[in-house]
């Protein structure tokens, strides 16, 4: 499946300055595209910079360098007023559903608010549209006047999704939307997201560390490690064959619920290192089981592995051949 491009991110970087000599390299020189109606899964562990990428994409955080093109317009140069006009088309769903809802507003008020802000419809029309959207994400009309705390976590997250989708956006950044939910609620939310994409043709940037959820929802998957993109490819290809040793490690750590399937050998030790003043080298070199001296010389470029699959590893060709 191919998609017409909607978002193009080129050489995006975000640095958080600590003091005169130190900065956190949260995102370093990342490029990717998201197509219309496509879901790009962005996976990585805590500290990999995936949340920062999502916030930069919405300009909720100002990028330090690089450009973001959205529907043909330059998002990085947009003024505050232009940005506000774009807000209905660019939305966000949060990790912690309860915390993302104003505790003093009813569900109906919360979902109607974006419409009140961005359309000239009457209050009654906004309410009706909000009620309709709540129904579409699977919430009963009786919930309309309830407060967030009266709902289950799954219902709260549906409200978050309804708020994001009520203005019919082109792109929704899903920032770990299922990570605080139990597995059954997670599956319900994934169903809702899938159904809404089919109905509205919206694009998702699905940020998560949960590979099971990402695999289920994404057309393509991008893998981040320590602020760098290390591999990107179609979900099917990436799940079959990982061309970066970090992606392999990430997949081997997923435990299948079937006790008869043997668990894959566990390959990496240690933890993700500090992102302060990152060096120009492969970010995974310290934990990589197959690293060689050249890995420390420079950040490897994205190598085309064929079939729109890219990996930033100097030993990727050997991995593909099965030589390692």
């Amino acid at each position: 499946m191919t998609f017409a491009p909607l978002v193009q991110v080129a050489h995006l970087s975000k640095r958080f300055r600590l003091d005169r000599h130190h900065y956190v390299g949260a995102v370093n020189d990342i490029s990717f595209t998201i197509g219309k109606g496509e879901t790009l899964g962005l996976v990585g562990e805590s500290g990999s910079g995936k949340t920062t990428v999502g916030r930069c994409l919405l300009r909720l955080i100002e990028p330090s360098a690089g450009s973001i093109t959205f529907a043909g317009a330059d998002l990085t140069g947009a003024s505050a007023a232009e940005l506000r006009a774009l807000r209905p088309r660019l939305q966000l769903v949060f990790q912690d559903p309860l915390a993302s809802l104003n505790p003093r507003r009813t569900i109906g008020q919360t979902v109607a608010e974006p419409l009140r802000l961005h359309t000239r419809q009457s209050a009654a029309a906004c309410r009706a549209a909000a009620a309709e959207m709540l129904r579409e994400v699977g919430l009963d009309a009786s919930r309309f006047d309830r407060y967030p705390i009266e709902l289950t976590a799954s219902e709260q997250q549906r409200v978050g999704i309804a708020r994001a989708l009520v203005t019919r956006p082109d792109l929704v950044v899903l920032d770990e939307p299922t990570s605080t939910l139990d597995p059954i609620m997670r599956a319900e939310i994934l169903d809702v997201l899938e159904r809404m994409q089919a109905a509205l043709g919206v694009s998702y940037l699905f940020i998560s560390h949960d590979l099971t959820a990402v695999e289920r929802l994404s057309h393509r998957i991008a893998v981040m490690y320590l602020g760098r993109l290390v591999e990107i490819g179609s979900t099917r290809a990436l799940m079959r064959q990982q061309d970066h040793p970090y992606t392999r490690a990430l997949l081997s750590a997923v435990l299948d619920a079937d006790p008869t399937k043997p668990i894959p050998p566990h390959v990496v030790e240690g933890e993700i290192p500090s992102a302060v003043n990152p060096r120009d080298e492969c970010p995974f070199v310290g934990r990589c089981p197959i690293h060689i001296p050249v890995c420390r010389d420079a950040m490897p470029g994205m190598a085309d592995m064929g079939g729109a699959h890219f990996a930033a590893c100097v030993r990727a060709p050997e991995l593909v051949r099965g030589a390692l």
């Binding site: 608010e113 802000l117 708020r163 597995p183 099971t212």
Partner: protein
């Protein structure tokens, strides 16, 4: 959604009645007293049995009697009547002045909070300037400042109101500013920006309403303080002048007679003043509690589902003579005896056995673990028995239980970092743990601690012992917690979501460590988790909970490949991200 099914509309009370229903007896008394003060402030002058401003020299300084309940003052006016009339002056001035100060202070507080971190330099300087100006203003003692203001503008009700409002508005400005700064960090504030609210609109529409409970509490404390300030100004002659009935002026008027034994003239207004200030303060706390979102909504209640057909697990198993832990018909009763939090659960665990506990959120996994550790939540009642090494944990003396906990019965809880005291170095914390159970020297304890850190796979133990918890990563902190749990060679390790919050590549390392310890040291484990993958590969048996009931239990391979209950089916499908 089964879990909120019991919260039907019929159980929702509205408005005042709902708030009243949620108050305790003490709180209700405070509310009634506050209502009394307000009523007297409104109707007091009309209720007075005697004239409140007309002097009568013949009745001068009479002691309390049936005619004059609280005596008369030096003008021959009935003290009780004046006391009924006075609050109108004091309370009105205080209320108006406080409202004025909050109406000015709160919006300025919002602006100050928004401006000071604003990227535009003009605005950030304005915000900073506002705060420095306040510093100067607040450097003066409040009372002196108010006195000076009244002295400049002259006495009179409006000027007292202005003075009291002026000295109080910084309180609200600062309060709202600090509330705003913390509310801005909350995700719903970012959500407001994400849907396209401007910062200013978001602050007034979303943040300020959430600061209200704190403001209202402060409001009522300030009213009390403003009453005191008004009375104080009048006491020194800089506020309301006689003959207008006013508490401060009344106290001042009677003060000189105190020494002559005519105590009633000052004492009763003084007591009244004290009572008003006190009740205002208490009233603030009551309102603060009532305004918390969800404070008066019904307590969390989960509906117990109908028992699964093959719920043989709820029957008491034949007593296993080798059992390390035997849980026998355990129930945990919360507020509603009809819907127990845990219902007649029975299970047993042999030495070295690893039991996984699964279920959806709210199924009772954590409650079961806490009850097994003899740490049930406050306000709950435990029925049934938990026997550990043949001893009944519920009836064990507290000292025995302490000796058991942390030694042969150890726990690992989620969010390891939160359990380590941020002010204590890892080594000191571990040494204290060791010496709580074993008599040994400090150096010996440290040596043992270092050995245990190596055992859980931490390199450079000496450096880790000297580290504070914030210097450790999540994975390291969880390893330290496991090391602490293992210090005394426990026979049972109770772990609640031991890898929650850890990265997947670190999760495997922690699980492998727990497995290795279980095998090498024959440690039995109970692991509560939402991740069936952990159960499938790191446990021997699995217990499935739903709505506080044990619905299925058996060997992992049997339960996960041929589940008998609907919830297990759903959990297995959900582990693949699918709905059953």
């Amino acid at each position: 959604m089964a879990f909120v099914a019991s919260k039907g509309p019929s159980r929702r009370l509205h408005g005042v009645r709902r708030v009243w229903a949620g108050l305790s007896a003490g709180d209700r008394i405070v509310v009634l007293l506050f209502a009394l003060i307000v009523s007297v402030a409104i109707a007091g002058p009309w209720l007075a049995p005697h004239p409140t401003m007309t002097a009568d020299p013949a009745q001068r300084l009479l002691p309390p009697s049936l005619e004059h309940w609280l005596g008369t003052d030096d003008n021959g006016i009935d003290v009780f009547s004046r006391l009924l009339a006075a609050p109108r002056t004091d309370v009105t001035i205080a209320l108006v002045a406080t409202l004025l100060s909050v109406l000015v202070g709160a919006p300025l507080g919002v602006l100050a909070g928004l401006f000071e971190s604003h990227p535009r330099r003009v605005l950030s300087l304005t915000g900073e300037g506002m705060l420095r100006l306040l510093d100067v203003l607040q450097a003066f003692p409040v009372f002196i400042l108010a006195m000076v203001l009244v002295a400049i503008r002259g006495p009179g009700t409006e000027n007292v109101i202005l003075a009291v409002a002026f000295v109080n508005f910084p309180v609200f400005l600062r309060l709202v500013r600090s509330e705003l700064l913390s509310l801005r960090q909350r995700p719903f504030a970012e959500a407001a920006r994400a849907i396209g609210r401007s910062d200013l609109a978001a602050a007034f529409v979303h943040l300020l309403p959430n600061a209200l409970p704190t403001v209202v509490v402060q409001l009522s404390v300030t009213v009390g303080f403003a009453v005191l300030l008004t009375a104080g100004l009048s006491f020194v002659g800089a506020g309301i002048r006689p003959p207008t009935p006013e508490l401060g002026a009344m106290i001042a008027g009677g003060a000189k007679f105190m020494a002559l034994g005519q105590w009633w003239v000052s004492l009763f207004p003084g007591l009244a003043l004290g009572a008003i200030v006190f009740v205002c303060g208490l009233f603030g706390e009551v309102i603060g509690r009532a305004l918390e979102p969800g404070a008066s909504s019904a307590p969390r209640r989960r509906r117990a589902p109908p028992l699964a057909a093959a719920a043989a697990a709820t029957n008491a198993p034949a007593a296993d003579p080798q059992a390390l832990l035997a849980v026998d018909r355990l129930s945990l009763i919360g507020d509603d005896p009809e819907a127990p939090l845990l219902e007649t659960m029975s299970l047993s665990l042999r030495p070295g056995e690893r039991l996984g506990i699964v279920g959806v959120a709210g199924a009772g996994k954590s409650l079961l673990l806490r009850t097994v550790l003899a740490l049930p939540p406050p306000g709950t009642t435990v029925r049934g028995r938990v026997r550990f090494e043949g001893r009944d944990l519920e009836t064990l003396p507290a000292a025995e239980l302490r000796r058991l906990r942390g030694a042969t019965l150890a726990a690992i809880l989620p969010n390891a970092k939160a359990q380590l005291n941020p002010l204590v170095r890892i080594g000191d914390f571990m040494a204290a743990q060791i010496r709580a159970h074993v008599r040994c020297s400090e150096a010996e304890a440290r040596r043992r601690a270092a050995k245990m850190l190596v055992a859980v796979g931490l390199t450079d133990p000496e450096r880790r012992l000297d580290a504070y918890p914030h210097e450790l990563s999540g994975g390291m902190a969880q390893r330290v917690c496991i090391a602490i749990a293992l210090l005394h060679r426990p026979r049972l390790l109770v772990a609640d979501e031991p890898t929650a919050g850890l990265d997947v590549t670190v999760q495997r390392q922690v699980l492998d460590l727990m497995l290795k310890l279980s095998k090498e040291q024959n440690v039995a484990q109970i692991v509560a988790t939402r991740d069936l993958g952990i159960v499938a590969h790191y446990c021997d048996t699995v217990a499935v909970l739903e709505g506080g009931r044990l619905v299925e239990m058996g060997p992992v391979a049997a339960v996960l490949t041929a589940p008998s209950s609907a919830v297990t089916h759903r959990l297995i499908a959900a582990s693949r991200g699918e709905t059953a």
